[in-house]
């Protein structure tokens, strides 16, 4: 059952994405697994570690300067998903380079570094500095440009909706990253996500990640006001699956650009649906928060050994 006839890939085998060989196709999504586990050792009865079989951990998005994020509450469960307005809390790019990335390398965690910035120049500068500082690292496989986080006031939201801006950001980063995979993470809150994907690919992205969260809102019935102080948050989790599948299908079938799928994946079956549509890899987000072994179990269930 977990290996239907049409399914021939081993997602725990190495595969090439752009200039880089990744150790597998089951990844964790940015913001849902921090910089990998920090401070915790984790065990389970059935999987050796939360990293077993994973192709990459996409790190929490880092920005040029540290950010403390949005006011609380910034994470709300809804019956079928979650709304977050974390606001890109992160240690900042320099601390990330100095402390986080070396530690990921030391622990042997395959890493994709998620970056956000407010203009193409900043993206370029971060990419250049990454290449300069982290060039020799073996576990750093690529960069994902977060062009779509709906929680940042300064431009973040509409930023990634314009294909030209997407292209500029990708081009700026690409020029400094000759030997790493470059991914553009797209917002689904547009009429034409395929257009964004095409723009990203033409500017040099090796793949696009789709999707980031949908704009959502939850009301506190006691007050009649939105629960999140900024009203809107990013909707993620199981409710998203059919929406994310549609966006991925739109990109794959209209553009042929390689897609790393994300949105609502919690089980091997969910992941299979993205692969069925032609996704080259998948990311586990919200479900990884519920259980740090989710992605590793998906890798085990779908792997040839599974």
């Amino acid at each position: 059952m977990l290996h239907p006839a049409w399914w021939t890939i081993d997602p725990c085998a190495r595969f090439q994405l752009g200039p880089r060989i990744f150790p597998g196709r089951i990844w964790t999504a940015s913001g849902c697994f921090a910089y990998g586990l920090t401070g915790h050792d984790m065990t389970s009865d059935d999987v050796a570690s939360p990293y077993s079989g994973l192709g990459a951990v996409v790190t929490k998005t880092v920005t040029p300067l540290p950010r403390s994020g949005n006011p609380m509450p910034r994470l709300v469960e809804t019956p079928h998903g979650a709304l977050n307005s974390i606001g890109l809390e992160n240690v900042g790019f320099e601390a990330f380079l100095a402390e986080v990335l070396p530690e990921l390398e030391e622990r042997g965690v395959p890493t994709v570094v998620s970056l956000a910035a407010t203009n193409p120049g900043e993206f370029g500068a971060m990419a250049a500095r990454l290449q300069e500082c982290a060039g020799p690292l073996g576990c750093w496989h690529g960069v994902e440009l977060n062009l779509s986080c709906p929680n940042v006031a300064e431009g973040g939201h509409d930023f990634g909706k314009d294909p030209r801006t997407v292209a500029q950001c990708v081009a700026a980063a690409r020029s400094h990253l000759p030997d790493r995979a470059l991914l553009a993470k797209l917002t689904p809150n547009v009429a034409d996500i395929a257009g964004l994907a095409r723009a990203a690919a033409e500017a040099g992205a090796d793949a696009v990640s789709a999707v980031n969260t949908f704009v959502g809102l939850e009301v506190d019935l006691a007050t009649g006001k939105p629960i999140l102080p900024r009203r809107f948050g990013g909707y993620s989790g199981p409710a998203l699956l059919p929406l994310a599948l549609a966006k991925v299908d739109e990109i794959v079938s209209r553009t042929g650009v390689p897609v790393v799928g994300a949105g609502g994946i919690a089980t091997a079956e969910d992941a299979l649906k993205f692969f069925a549509l032609g996704a080259v890899a998948v990311q586990v987000g919200t479900a990884q928060m519920r259980d740090p072994f989710t992605a590793a179990r998906i890798a085990r269930d779908l792997g040839k050994q599974g």
């Binding site: 915790h40 050792d41 065990t43 929490k60 469960e77 809390e89 928060m289 519920r290 259980d291």
Partner: protein, 274 residues
């Protein structure tokens, strides 16, 4: 040793319900048996969820009441969707477990008397603290609204029960008043080397405990409740504001601390109440 222990390894697995029964009018005790023995310190918690696809999007944090080998117990109150679903579970039902998580209450330093203030479902960590570290002279107070709300079977004679309303005591001994009432008198000495105040419960209690401690210069640790996404430090959905030492030349600052990983137990003085 007042410095929190380093975080132990957390275990994720499926526990099975062995018992799930009311212990007072508002409190239910749930016992699980895990696939392996569990080691924890008082104040640590676990993230629980229904097993399988019917589970909630986020697991729910619950303080560990006790653990003995593979058996682990919780005390909870039905407040919403998740706890209502837990209350429906019968023996044998699978429960997704991740724990122990978070930093525990500290043990005492020599010379300190302990004052424990537990309100309602804030009992578990302090119950276990007293069981492990309790000494004659410690003052352990449990507060509830009225007699029927008190889990009498869990509370031995070392516990002073405080009820706001003396109804429903059915002959059980209790102080009428807030859980802070027994501490208010002048009997307790001042000074952080003399009293270690630990509290877990409603926010108002924690504020009152912090104020008491500040006024008396007691050492004080509080267990906070924040809504949690992951419970293990990755989502940044549970942050609280804590003070950081000022950079020389500028005043003291603040930063976010994750309640799940840097807490849930914080030193009262470090907290910035919002």
């Amino acid at each position: 040793m007042n410095t929190p222990d380093p975080l132990p390894g957390a275990y994720q697995g499926i526990g099975r319900v062995t018992a799930n029964r009311p212990v007072s009018s508002g409190l239910i005790r749930m016992d699980l048996v895990l696939a392996r023995p569990l080691d924890f310190s008082p104040g640590q918690f676990a993230m629980l969820n229904l097993a399988g696809p019917s589970g909630m999007v986020f697991s729910r944090p619950f303080s560990i009441l006790a653990a003995d080998g593979q058996d682990v117990s919780f005390l909870y109150r039905v407040v919403g969707r998740g706890t209502a679903a837990f209350a429906d579970l019968g023996p044998g039902a699978p429960v997704s477990f991740l724990g122990p998580l978070g930093r525990p209450f500290p043990a005492r330093t020599p010379g300190q008397r302990a004052v424990l203030l537990a309100g309602g479902v804030g009992l578990p960590p302090l119950h276990d603290w007293l069981a492990r570290h309790g000494r004659p002279g410690d003052l352990a107070c449990f507060g509830a609204r009225e007699g029927h709300d008190v889990p009498w079977n869990l509370l031995d004679e070392r516990w002073t029960v405080c009820v706001e309303d003396p109804d429903g005591l059915d002959g059980h001994p209790a102080v009428t008043g807030l859980v802070t009432a027994p501490v208010a008198g002048p009997e307790l000495p001042r000074g952080r080397d003399r009293i270690l105040l630990l509290s877990c419960g409603p926010r108002l209690l924690l504020r009152a405990a912090a104020d008491l401690a500040a006024a008396q210069d007691w050492e004080c640790w509080l267990s906070l409740e924040e809504h949690m996404g992951c419970g293990y430090g990755v989502c940044k959905g549970c942050v609280v504001q804590v003070r950081v030492p000022g950079i020389p030349g500028s005043g003291p600052g603040s930063r976010n601390a994750t309640c799940c990983q840097e807490g849930p137990v914080f030193r009262a003085e470090d907290l910035i109440w919002t």
